[in-house]
Symmetry: C2
Subunit: 358 residues, 2 copies
DNA sequence: GTCAAGTGAGAAAAGGTTTTCTCATACAAT
DNA sequence: ATTGTATGAGAAAACCTTTTCTCACTTGAC
């Protein structure tokens, strides 16, 4: 006991001198300091702090207490070097606006922060070279996994992630063979919307949507046809307010009965449509119900009246993607395949019917 | 020579066996593999790759070539452990929408990717506990620095970053004493807007803006008064379209001459104002010029007519913040203080006058 | 033919942590 | 009194790089 104590008291002094001479960063507390202060060896300190190994309860407690007192925090780099886990993942996105990335990111972070995992965000703007640089940088930093996300379900990121030696999960972007991919169930979301319009008594439901080469446009239109039948046309265009505006002009210029509901491909189109209807003196929701898609707050909530719309639950999508990449990183088995997450109907005022609780 | 060569040829075999026995992750190529393949020692390999030390040109080239061929990439964790630089920084934000964070992030990333630096993004929603967790996680991971950003110039993040042992830079959020802070020059931006309205011949310029307790609101209003005089009132409200709408109602209900220009505190207010004017049959920009603030594409570009507005150059702000935190991390001296970055006028159609090049 | 200087390359330590192995002590059982 | 078995704790190796120090060899000069 005496010998050990003497060593313990001797050590800090040597250490201090060593530090001063080397001129290294002062104040960085390592497990060395903890061991010295507690009068134990480094290995004992480590085992005490990690609740591993055999040792007296009193010793363990003392080490823990002292570590807390002097503010010891283990160096994740050193730990990662040994354990091959950096508790770090990369999020790769080509969505510059952040419309889709931010909710996904929030979900990922939310799910992983409890596990001590931090997230590198890399925004590549469809630039393959930039993407490669970011991927390489992340791999060098030994990320435990990568989540790829984008702004479109049916497009790949401009970089090949298929043969990395870290797990990759795709969220809201096209994945590779045998990968795990999370996406929204646009078909179900569209059905939700059209069924809601039917529920509140609408019969002549038109569909104004984006470009027909978007996979999600086709899926939503498919569900629309299935539920609403073919009584009203589908108008394909672009993802902008002005298209929504123009589409309403087209519809109302046609002879014959007008639609009593508009199912729009996204909130921007819906907003344009609502504006056009107001300008024509058509009352929303009294005369016509309008429903959007995306639940992009900044658009949906600022429309007059606020838009009833379909939320793709991107945060939940991110959460699941995060947990999945973590599982893969820890070697737990995960079934490959595409997982569709259900959408949710957000009821505001643009449809009439039940109004939301305020 | 002979001896050395024999050793070199012997080594890879031992190493291979070692790897297989240990069962460590296969395929991870370390400098060991490079050295073996090139028939040199680890130290020589390292020096060759880093262009340091003395050695024959032929040897250096051979090592480099082989490293490239077998796809060697140095482990950043190991390197960081030694060099005390992780080539990693943290970006802390309380801006959930990403309106401000994303451009700033893009600028930071843009500036730092060339230096091999990756960025941890941590979105804390004004939750002090969550903020602390994220900061601790980043410090554990030995970030070289932290950039704090937010959605408001005159508010602090809910976490104290003042006594960290890594450099901290503030961008678009209130900093601490003796820190480096980057912010937009809202006064200059407002002057730009009002002067432009004057240039195109407007004389009765009203100012519709956000809540008066915002620092930037007061700065913009100050510049407005300075340039436009006090002929028209300043209407304080909230940052929403509906307030812009309502403010126009108020202005046009008043007796007497109406304004011929509206300087709005942000693009959402401007959009609401434009909509209200259209509904009243007032022509924009023929009768009234409207100018916004923020250049938030999704709002400014979708307004009819598209908004002339003031851009705060947040990407440039992020770029400078990134370079600054890097300089601090490398020990280069940086003068503390608040740096105001100039805003830029973006001319679209809502003001008339010179129209933008299409 | 000896010495000095220069050149090329390897050995070893360091960075902070975890983990395995070994050792010393104490105690119970024979 | 001797052996056997827990128990507590330390020594050392490992993770992958970089850097400093040292060593062996060559060359040119005297």
């Amino acid at each position: 006991m005496t010998e050990r104590l003497v060593k313990a008291f001797l050590k800090p002094i040597q250490k201090e001198e060593g530090l001063n001479i080397s001129g290294g960063k002062r104040g960085r507390i390592t497990i060395h300091e903890v061991a010295s202060a507690a009068g134990v060896s480094i290995s004992t300190a480590s085992k005490a702090l990690n609740d591993t190994g055999r040792m007296g309860a009193e010793t363990r407690e003392r080490v823990k207490r002292i570590a807390g007192e002097i503010g010891y925090r283990p160096n994740a780099l050193a730990r990662g070097l040994l354990s091959k886990r950096s508790f770090t993942i990369g999020l790769l996105t080509n969505d510059t606006y952040g419309r889709f990335t931010l909710p996904v990111m929030a979900g990922i972070s939310d799910a992983l922060v409890d596990h001590g995992v931090s997230v590198f965000l890399c925004a590549i703007e469809d630039d393959p070279a930039l993407a490669q640089i970011h991927v390489d940088a992340m791999l060098d930093k030994q990320v435990d996994g990568i989540i790829a996300t984008g702004k479109r379900l049916d497009r790949r990121l401009p970089v090949d992630l298929s043969n990395l030696h870290v797990p990759v999960v795709y969220a809201f972007t096209e994945g590779t063979q045998n990968s795990v991919t999370f996406r929204s169930d646009d078909e179900q979301g569209a059905r939700l919307a059209v069924e809601w319009l039917a529920t509140i008594g609408r019969r002549r439901i038109a569909h104004i949507t984006g470009p027909g080469d978007f996979f999600s446009v086709r899926e939503r239109a498919g569900a629309y046809h299935q539920v609403a039948g073919h009584r009203e046309p589908v108008l394909y265009g672009v993802w902008s307010e002005s298209w929504g505006h123009e589409a309403v002009e087209q519809l109302w210029k046609r002879p014959g009965e007008k639609p009593d509901a508009l199912f729009c491909g996204n909130d921007q189109i819906a907003r344009g449509a609502v504006d056009a209807l107001r300008e024509r003196g058509v009352k929303v929701p009294q005369d016509v119900s309008v429903i959007g898609f995306d639940n992009w707050e900044i658009v949906a909530a600022q429309t007059r009246p606020p838009l009833t719309t379909v939320d793709m639950e991107l945060k939940e999508l991110g959460r699941q993607a995060g947990l999945t990449v973590l599982a893969l990183a820890e070697g737990r088995p995960v079934e490959p395949g595409v997982r569709k997450l259900p959408c949710r109907l957000v009821i505001r005022r643009s449809c009439g019917g039940r109004t939301p609780p305020e």
